[in-house]
Each structure stands twice: as C-alpha cells, then as structure tokens.
Subunit: 413 residues, 2 copies
C-alpha cells in the first residue's frame, strides 16, 4: 500500500492536518438521535457502542433549513449556508422571476475540504446515495465520486472510477431502499480495502427514516446493518466521524394524516394575491416527503406589507418562528440573495407547504415523517477517537455538525 | 395491604383511571438526554434499559421557560404555564411596582392531579428534593408531602408524615449533593414498601447536572444510583413514568468562563434608562447557576419603543429568539399578566442576565451549566409499560413532558 499523505491543507479558514490512516466522515442522513438510541438500547449497534465508549458522542447543531443538500454542503465545506450559498434545493430569483434549482456546483460559493484534501495528496473518494448530491460534493475534486443510484454508470473520466459495481461487489441498489445507504458504506469499505481511497465522505439517504419510526423492526435492522459496516471500517483502521444532516419527526395529525399548513393559501385568504411560497425541500425524490418540510420562504410583491404578514403568520397555530430577511440572514445563517422576504418555521409535528396542488400526498409511503425546521436541528456527532482538551472545550460551546472534519482530524487524540 | 383504589378522577379536563398498582412519576430534574445516553452506553443503567425495552422512550417538549418550578407545576397539573400561572420563580407586577416570588401555591391557578388522586381515594405522596417546590406540589393535597431538604422537620399535621427520616432510613441530605435526589427516590421506595403511598410524585434536583457533564464519573455514578432505585420501584410492582423538567447545557465561552449577555446593560447603553430585566430562574439555590439562565423577561417604561427594542435585540449575537408579549403568550404559552413587554431566549451556550451585580459568578461550582431556553426544551419521556395504540399515535404528534400522568395512567397497556 502507498504511504498515506499527512500533508496539511487549508480551506475556508481552517487548516487540517490529517492522520496517516483512512479518514472517513459519514453523513447519517435523517438519523435523529432516537434512531441510535432505539438501536443501542436493543443491543443492535455493538460497534457504534464501542466507538462511543472509546471515542465521543455529543449533540451538535445542524444548519438550517435542516435539509439534506444544505447540510451536506456545510459538512464538506465546514461553513454555514450564508457562506457556501446552498440553502435548499430551490430558490426564487426575484429579479429574473425564475425558480432556480441549486443542485449544481455552479451555485456553490466555497471550495470543499474534499477537493483540498485531494490537492494535498490524499486519495479522496465521495460516495453518495443520491445522484443529486454528486455534483456539489465532487466540485473541483481530483478523485473518486459516484452515487449508489448510478453506480452502474461510472466512467473513469467523470467519476474517477470504472465499473464501480464490480469494485463494491454489489449491483446498483433501488434508491427507495435500505440498500441505497448500505451500498455507500460497503463502497467505502471496498475502496479502503483495495487501497483506492484514504480520505472518504460517505453520504447516506434518509428513505428509511422518512418511512419508519426508530423502534420499527425495519429501522432496527437497518441500523444493525450500518453497524456491521462501521465495524468493517474500524477494523480497516479508519478514523470515523458520523453526523446526520438533520433529524426526523412525524408530521401527522391526531388522525394520522399529514399535518400541513398551506401557507400560500393562508396568505391569499388574508391579503389577496401577490405571494410566492418556496418550499426549498422540493426535489425529485417525492416518495420521501411530498415536498413538505418545516421551513418555507415567502416572496411578497408588495414589500410594504411585510411587517403585517409577519404579524399575521405569528397568529397561525403550528407556525413557531417567523423572520424577516435580515433576521433570517442573522438567526438562520441564510445567504441574503437566495432567501425571501419572510421565512417561516413550523412545529415539531407540522409541515408547511404552498398549495395542495403542489404536493402529492399520495406519493408518501406510510405516515408523513419529515424535517426542515428547528425540531430537526439538534443531532449528534460521533467520533471513533476521543477529543483532545482543546476540542473538548469547543464541544461544550455551540459545536456544529459541519465542523466534523475539523473535530475528527484536528480534534481527536 | 389495603386495596389500591382504581376510582377514576378528573382534573383540568382530563379523566385519569389509575391502575391497581403503585403509580410513580419521577421528575428527573435537569436530565438532558445526554445523561441517559452516557450512562446507558456504559452499561450503568440496566433497569432503565429494561424499562425502555419493555416500555417506552421518546422525546417530548417541555414547558418554557425550561425551568424547574414551571415544569414541575406543569407536570402535576397537566397544563402549560399559560393555564397554571407559574412561569418562573419571579414575575414583576407592573401595576404595584413589585417583584413577586411565585414559589407559593397562592399563585397557582389550577388544581393538581395529586390532590385529585388523593380525593379519589389514592394514598398520595409527594417527595421533592428542594423545599421550595413543596408548597405548590402539595396544594390542597390530603396526603404526604415533604422535601429531602427538610426531612428532619416533618410533622403529621403539615406533611402528612412524622419522622420522615426514620421512615426512609436516611438522614436529611445536603441539598447540594447527589444524595438530595437519591433520598427522594429511596423515600418513594420506603413509602410503597410500608404501604403508606400508592400514587407518588418524586421530584429530584439538578445540582449534579449543573455541576457535571454527562460523561463525568460523578454523573455516571449518580445515574447508576438512580438506576438501583428504579429497580427497587419496579420490583415493588410500580408503574413508572420519568421525565425531566428541562435539559442542561454548558454555557461557557471558548475560555471556559460563563458566557453571559447582561441584557439590562445592553439596553441602557443603547436606549438609556427605563428597563427592568427579570431573570425568572432566580431562586435561593445560587450554587447551581448564579441566577443565569437562557430566558429573561423585559419590562419597558416607554411602551412606544417596544418594536425598536425588539429589532435591536435581534441584532445581538447569542440572542436567538425575541418576542413581544402577545407572541410570548402564543409561542411560549405564557400567562399574559405575569410576563413582560419583551421575552428573550438565548443560544445553546449563552445565558442572559440583568447586570453583573445581580449575578454572583463566584457562587458557581465548576463551569457554568444551565437551562431556561429552547435548547433545553426537548427531553425524554420514559415509561415502564408500552403505549396503547391511541397514545402511540399521540406520541407521534407533539407530546409534552407535562402529559406524563396522562400517558402513564391512560396511555399504557
């Protein structure tokens, strides 16, 4: 095996000095702490348990909105959305009257830790369950980057790897499955085993968490299978950090139906027309959530009524926080040119939408479970190695999930 | 042993039909979920683990401010502070220009589940670590009610029990100790063993959590000792529900010092005089927190500047939420006559105070750990028995810590 590079590299104001062993950061998509707890209490995650006992587990604050691409981008840049620019799947460009999809690196305003690690001499690999994340995660990266969803399609020139299925030893999984995430972890194991990577970012998908509660047998089996892969990574000598992008909560009424506030309808009924509600969770993977999350952005034609709209929204049961643009920039770390006049967050069991016609509730499998708001903000950071004194003190501040590369590389003994 | 009454009783709109076995609700003061997780992962709480596996564990939302007497009162009434009136240790009565302490039942606006259970024929016992809670918890109660802090002092006419120390078999503990809480649990065990109670509310104190982080050996030992008492209660056939009043977070700067925003000073520097900041965490137990929490209430002489003050407070780093009175009533469930013109919540690692002279930082033992705000709102509810289908659905909504009597009695199989 080649020597693993320990050359320091700097990106976005932080210098990373990686250890001479495989560095693996895992984005445990949608892993609200309840999932770990349910599995640990039932002895389904012995490797995670050992990791926590010899390493570290603590709560950290994710980026808002608590969505997948926002937090994946934060994790690989080490920055909040205000700095990296990716604040959802969509934003509305008022000047050009266009809804703009942000799933491409063209909207990224910062370099990634992954590209910088590769430039410093590490063999970097990114494996993501969902293809939609690949473009951002592989931005300027000289290394391997492919998705489980399109593993059958990899080309050396594009993905840095030929015949990924053969390398992993598995066929391309169905995206709506536990296997979509397990494939990612197994790919990580295979890439380390074969000496193809020593600095990895493995990003899972939250289909299972959108579909099953923490105590469901399907969820417990899923986490047990994750644990097996964690064990393999540990036995390969990896230094592992795991953090979710966001938590997950049921968003249902007492009758078990989706608990939705259609914000554009509410506003039109009160003020007439002139509103555009953006649901930045909207993406092509509708089976997960029907484009319903706990965070929406509102654009208002008549700017003179913003304060009145905010006061009205504060009176709607289920809406928990309402901010004007300045406050959203400050409290929610949003890029001011990609947010709206008003930002709304909803309660633990409430999602906010646009109008019924924009949301296909029939696409949702099982009861609606979703995220995006404050009650999916707090998640855990788990590290395979204990923190040094400096980072132990930092962990007692306001640590963030997107500091995980820093904590893992610079903060562990 | 006498027959245990199963007569239904109703209070504050809910009918309770208790089982023919000891009902025990424990307020696990300051037990942020991290404390359970640290102890469970290290195999320190086998009884709690068994309880969770055969029963229920889920996150619930506490009442705000996330303080002890607010949430204890909520738990024993089944109501939010807007309905029971106790929204802190203090409020400012603007009309009479008086700061009023709310630690007495005279300020309670609702009956308690405990008094109603006793009236229905249950043998009720309340044991609280801190004497300050006894008056509210024992309001109109025909039964036993005493504090660990004053266990040496009990009188039949006042406390429903003579010589409590002898009954428990322990001397009155030091209030700043693990024993203050363990005494409460051992008292519960003794009262059931001796047939003196079959419906118990046991309220611990958070001195240990204010002082030690979850992984500290002292904290792990404390939870192991709690676990022993849980095991005794279970072996006595008790049906147990456990929930904290609030979580707990370090509130320190990067240098390890208390991370305090002195709000009255900030406001005076910006607007001049005319402000009174109330810190409703203030109580006689200063070693815990130096009267510093993550929630303050502001009274403003000149009501015309309220909006301006709110806008200013929104710009202060560390302040996370700012509400006017109406919004505080709605979003934070506050009684409008006992809150102020503006309510401020601070971040996970930030406390808000009045002016330095009102806060004795020297009284704090170790690093400042405190609560009161949004980041101490989410806590767990643990039940010894599994939920029935109706309450399982409710648990997927927005369950509250103060519904624990309802969940335990009406919601478990």
């Amino acid at each position: 095996m080649d020597q693993i590079s320990t050359t320091s590299f700097s990106v976005n104001g932080i210098t990373y000095t990686p250890q001479q062993q495989p560095i693996v950061v895992i984005c445990m998509d949608g892993s609200a702490d309840e999932y770990y707890n349910a599995a640990l209490t039932r002895d389904k995650m012995p490797c995670l348990k050992a990791m926590i006992r010899s390493g570290y587990r603590g709560l950290v604050r994710g980026a808002l909105p608590s969505f997948t691409n926002v937090n994946n981008t934060s994790i690989v840049t080490g920055l909040p959305p205000s700095a990296h620019g990716i604040c959802g799947n969509f934003f509305y460009d008022e000047k050009n009257d266009m809804e703009v999809m942000m799933n491409s690196a063209e909207y990224l305003r910062a370099g990634t830790i992954l590209a910088a690690a590769a430039a410093s001499g590490r063999k970097v690999a990114v494996v993501t369950a969902k293809e939609k994340l690949r473009d951002i995660l592989s931005h300027q990266l000289k290394g391997i980057a492919f998705s489980a969803e399109r593993a059958s399609d990899t080309k050396l020139s594009v993905h840095g790897i030929e015949q990924a299925e053969q390398t992993v030893g598995l066929n391309t999984p169905e995206i709506y499955s536990a296997d979509a995430s397990l494939f990612v972890l197994r790919a990580g194991v295979a890439l380390i085993e074969k000496g193809m990577a020593d600095f990895l970012y493995l990003s899972l998908t939250d289909y299972m968490q959108h579909t099953y509660a923490p105590e469901a047998p399907e969820a417990l089996d899923f986490y047990a299978a994750i644990d097996t892969e964690l064990g393999r990574l540990l036995s390969l000598g990896a230094r592992i950090g795991a953090t979710p992008d966001h938590g997950m909560n049921p968003k249902i009424t007492a009758g078990g139906k989706p608990n939705v506030l259609y914000v554009e309808d509410l506003l039109e009924a009160q003020f007439g027309s002139g509103f555009r509600v953006i649901c930045p969770i909207t993406d092509p993977y509708v089976k997960h959530h029907g484009a319903l999350g706990s965070y929406v952005v509102i654009h208002i034609e008549d700017k003179s009524i913003i304060q009145e709209v905010i006061a009205f929204l504060h009176t709607i049961p289920g809406i928990t926080e309402v901010y004007n643009k300045e406050e959203a920039v400050r409290h929610l770390e949003q890029p001011s040119d990609r947010t709206g006049d008003v930002v709304v967050l909803s309660g633990r069991n409430v999602v906010v939408g646009r109008k019924p016609r924009y949301h296909d509730l029939n696409a949702i499998e099982g009861a609606l479970r979703s995220h995006g708001g404050r009650y999916e903000e707090m998640i855990s950071m788990i590290l395979s190695h204990p923190l040094n004194n400096e980072y132990l003190l930092r962990s007692a501040g306001d640590p963030r999930n997107f500091q995980i590369f820093d904590f893992l590389i610079n903060g562990t003994k």
